[in-house]
Structure formats: C-alpha cells, structure tokens
C-alpha cells in the first residue's frame, strides 16, 4: 500500500471510530476518574497517535480498543506526572488499576448515559448542562458550541472548564440515578437535550450549518437516551417531539427563505417517515402509563400532524392537551399557544380573553410570541389600530430576519 493511500484509509478509520465511539470512550475514561477534561485530552492524543501510526502499520483489527489502550496509558502518565504535587501514589495506583480493569479486546461498556447524568447534574449551572453534554458525548469544540448558543468561544470555553472542575472536585457521580430519583434527574437531562435542539432550531432555514447540525445532534442524543432507557415514557416523548418538529423543517420556509406559519405550511412537504416514527414512539410512551410534559407536547404536535390525513388539525383535542400541559407545567409559552388554539375553535375574541395578561406577568412585555399572537388575534377580531401597535412591538423584539419580514407583511396588509 502506498503511504498516501494508507494515510487516507487511516483518516477514514479514525473518523469512523470518532463518530461511533468518541462519547463512549470519554465516558469510560471519565466515569472512572471523575475527570472529563483529562479524558478528553488523553483521547485527543490517542487520535493523534492513530493518525501517525495507522498509515504506517495499517489499521488495527479493533480500532476502538487500540484508542482506549493508548488513551488510558496517556491518562495514567498525566496522573503520575501530577503525583508529586497533587496526589499520593496510592491514589495514582488505584486510578491506574481502575483504568486497567476493563478489557479492551471485548465490548467497551457504554457509560454515556451515566456521563450525561453527570453533565446535567442539578449542582451545575443550568445554562452549561446542554453544552457539557454536547462536548463530552459528541466531542463538539467550544467554538462550535459557543456559536450555537450565541456566546463567545472564550466565554463558553471558560464555563465548560469551570463545570468540569466542579464535576471533579465535588465528586459529582457518573451513574444513572436510583429509581426514585430518576424521573426528576432524567428531566434535567431531557431539558438539556431539548435546549440544544431549540438552539439548533432557531435557524429554521438551515442556512447556518452549525445550528442545523445542533438540531441533528440533539435528535441523536434523544435517540440514545430513549434506547438506553426504553421504558422511560418521557425519554420516548422527547424524541417524538423532536422528530415531529424536525419533520416540518422543509416546510417552514419558502424557496425564497420566507417564514411560513404552521397553518399555511404545505403538509406534503412534511417528512412522513419522521412523523410515523414519532407516532409510534408516542404510542409506546403512552402504553407505559405515566404522562409528562414532553409526551403532551409531542401529542400536540401529533394533533397538528393530523392535518396530513384529514386536511384539518384536531383543535378540540389540541385545546385539551394544552389544558393538561398548563396544569402540569404552566408557562407563558403554553398559555399563549393555548389561546391561539382556542381562537381557532371559538373565534378571536375568545382567544384574546384566554391570552395571559402583562399585568399578571411583566415578562410578557418583552416576549415576542406574546405580541405576535396578540397582533394576529386583534387583526382577526377587527381591532386594527391595536393590532398595528402589537405588530410593531413584535417586529421590534424578533431576531429572525425572515420572521420579521413575515410580520411586516402582515402589518402592512392591515386596512388603514
């Protein structure tokens, strides 16, 4: 084999292992040492070693095991190097023993779920949990995560480092919580994945590759959790919700990049495979008999997808689901969407009555969806002057160019 061919092959093999095994290898190394940063460093050195060695000697039969052996050795070297300053030799030996204990030639145990629970621990800053999971499980670098979460790479890098230090120094455990704590702790993990998806979703045109990928990565993580915890209904519910949302990606923008609201989307553009998968997940979740926020939200999306088959969303059912969701997890978003559904069934005045009021919740004053919903309902009820005012505020609060254009078009269509 000539060296160039060998190099390409090694690169391909390394890329393939990186995609399939990165998170698994980090989880294996980090869960035994509590040290995510050291695990990531050791693994990246192992990948570098692979790229220099595999082209010369050919790819090993078990690339995953090869990488783990090298990373493990690097990690033990680093701990030994620190020993004079920070650790006693007993401790080094016990870490070395623990790292050496698992065989490398057989299946490496999958501890990604345990690592996700560590990354989304309630003792960590809520805003860093999703970035931690994206970095530890998927290997995304701070710059990519920062651009998806609209912060600077330096600031994101610092906060990731701080979170890893806290995991190590406070001994945050790497394990799936016990049965009785699982629902609450799982919810934190699912929320972090949902946050990652939402960040990816804010670029619906898919023009920004980083953000589009983030939505795909979030679906990958939701799929992973639902496979590792197949009898947790909320894990299935989250995956169903994300698939329903993702199924409409192509329908959310016109060919010229204009925003298309759900009601006007061409349902034939929706991805039927994703809808079918979401429906079957939701069906499985409901058979487990414990309702939750993500299942309800997925069920609402499913009632919208009803339009595929009947040409019309199932509004009475959607309102019922919003009632249930509001009782379980009251929030302005839920209240606003519920009001919009009520308007569909009982007219715009009933919808306006159902909208939450700014007097009751001052956060609404700068909440774009509130003003957009209000503007739409006022328009339909014929209160054009008030509608114009509401549109103006909604436009002023919107950060997505396409949505801004859509709202401006609606406003200028109002009768004088």
């Amino acid at each position: 084999m000539n060296p160039i061919e060998g190099g390409e092959q090694a690169q391909c093999a390394a890329d393939a292992v990186a995609r399939q095994s990165y998170g698994k290898l980090v989880a294996f190394l980090a869960s035994r040492t509590h040290d995510v940063a050291a695990a990531e460093d050791a693994l990246s050195e192992a990948f570098a070693a692979a790229l220099s060695e595999w082209p010369r000697n050919g790819c090993p039969a078990n690339p995953e095991g090869w990488l783990l052996t090298v990373a493990r050795r690097k990690m033990i070297d680093v701990f030994r190097g620190q020993s004079r300053r920070q650790m006693v030799s007993v401790e080094i030996q016990s870490i070395a023993d623990v790292l050496a204990a698992a065989p490398t030639d057989t299946e490496i145990p999958d501890e990604r779920l345990a690592m996700m629970f560590a990354c989304a621990h309630p003792a960590l800053d809520p805003a860093i949990r999703a970035p931690m999971i994206l970095q530890a499980v998927l290997g995304l670098d701070a710059a990519r995560i920062a651009s998806a979460f609209l912060t600077s790479p330096a600031a994101m890098g610092k906060r990731l480092v701080r979170a890893k230090v806290k995991i190590r120094q406070t001994a945050i455990p790497f394990r799936v919580p016990a049965r009785e704590e699982l629902p609450a702790r799982l919810d934190v993990v699912l929320q972090a994945i949902y946050a990652a998806f939402s960040e990816g979703w804010t670029d619906p045109g898919g023009a920004d590759a980083v953000r589009r990928d983030l939505a795909e990565e979030a679906i990958y993580l939701a799929r992973l959790v639902s496979e590792l915890l197949p009898s947790e209904p909320e894990a299935l519910g989250l995956l169903a919700l994300l698939l329903h949302a993702e199924s409409r990606r192509r329908a959310r923008r016109s060919l010229t990049g204009d925003f298309i609201p759900l009601a006007q989307q061409d349902a034939s553009l929706w991805n039927k495979n994703q809808i079918d998968e979401a429906e079957s997940l939701l069906h499985r979740a409901s058979s487990l008999g414990v309702i939750g926020r993500f299942q309800l939200e997925a069920a609402i999306q499913s009632a919208h997808a009803h339009r595929c088959r009947t040409g019309r969303p199932n509004w009475p059912f959607i309102i019922q689901l919003y009632d249930a969701l509001f009782a379980l997890a009251a929030s302005p978003v839920v209240a606003i969407n519920r009001a919009i559904a009520i308007a569909e069934l009982h007219g715009p005045v009933a919808g306006l009555d159902a909208l939450p009021s700014i007097e009751a919740d001052s956060r609404l004053a700068q909440y774009q969806p509130y003003w957009a919903a209000r503007a739409e309902l006022l328009t339909r009820s014929g209160a054009f002057t008030h509608a114009r005012h509401a549109y103006e505020i909604a436009i002023g609060l919107e950060r997505d160019e396409a949505v801004r254009r859509f709202l401006e078009t609606r406003r200028s269509a109002l009768p004088a």
Partner: protein, 118 residues
C-alpha cells in the same frame, strides 16, 4: 470524600420559638446527628453561638484590627456545621436535604480540599 455542610439560618427564627418548639427543633438535630453516626458518615459537628458573640480579626499592614460582629452581615447567619464522609456529591446532597437546617434556612455543601495528598 469529605464535605462540610454549612448551616445558614435567620437566628431570630429560633429565638422567637416557644420553649416547646425549641425543644422539638433540638430533638430534630439530635436525631439527624444520630442518623449520620449510624450511617458511619459523621466526622464532626458543632453548633455556633449567635453572631452577637462574633468577633472578626484582620491584620492590615502588620496591624491587627479587631472588630465586633461577624465577617459578613447578612439576613441568614452561619449557625453550625456538619463534617461528613460520603462517596460522592449526590450522597452529600441527600444528607444536606435531610438536615433540619435545610427546612428553616439553607445548607451550603462544600467539598473538603484534601491537603494530605500534597
């Protein structure tokens, strides 16, 4: 792994209680300490006298300053601590949640910096 549970609470809460309530409160702490000992997690514990008895000392430019009062003037004061030895943070947080102080104040959980390894 050792953690210090720092109990912060508004002192007037205790002084405003009836003697019976105070006794009940003390009994809750006794039971909690007993449970920690039973579990083999107890390393040490003390209750502090009120902040009215606190004196703060600093040496500035070689001169010792002694001030009447606590270091931090806040609504909730450090009133005591438990030093515990448990496997990980989740275990420490579980003990913190059981502490009677968590119900009438706040419990700060801090890992001990093991200097013996230095």
């Amino acid at each position: 792994m050792q953690y210090l549970l720092l109990l912060h609470a508004n002192e007037s809460g205790f002084t405003n209680m009836t003697p019976e309530q105070q006794q009940q409160g003390m009994a809750a702490y006794m039971a909690y300490s007993q449970a920690l000992v039973e579990a083999g997690a107890m390393k040490g514990s003390n209750r502090l006298r009120p902040v009215a008895t606190a004196t703060t000392v600093r040496v500035v430019d070689g001169k010792t300053q002694v001030l009447d009062g606590p270091f931090a003037d806040s609504k909730e004061q450090l009133g005591g601590y438990f030093l515990i030895d448990v496997p990980d943070l989740d275990a420490a947080l579980a003990w913190a949640a059981r502490c009677p102080g968590a119900s009438h104040g706040a419990v700060e959980v801090r890992p001990i910096w093991d200097m013996s390894a230095a």
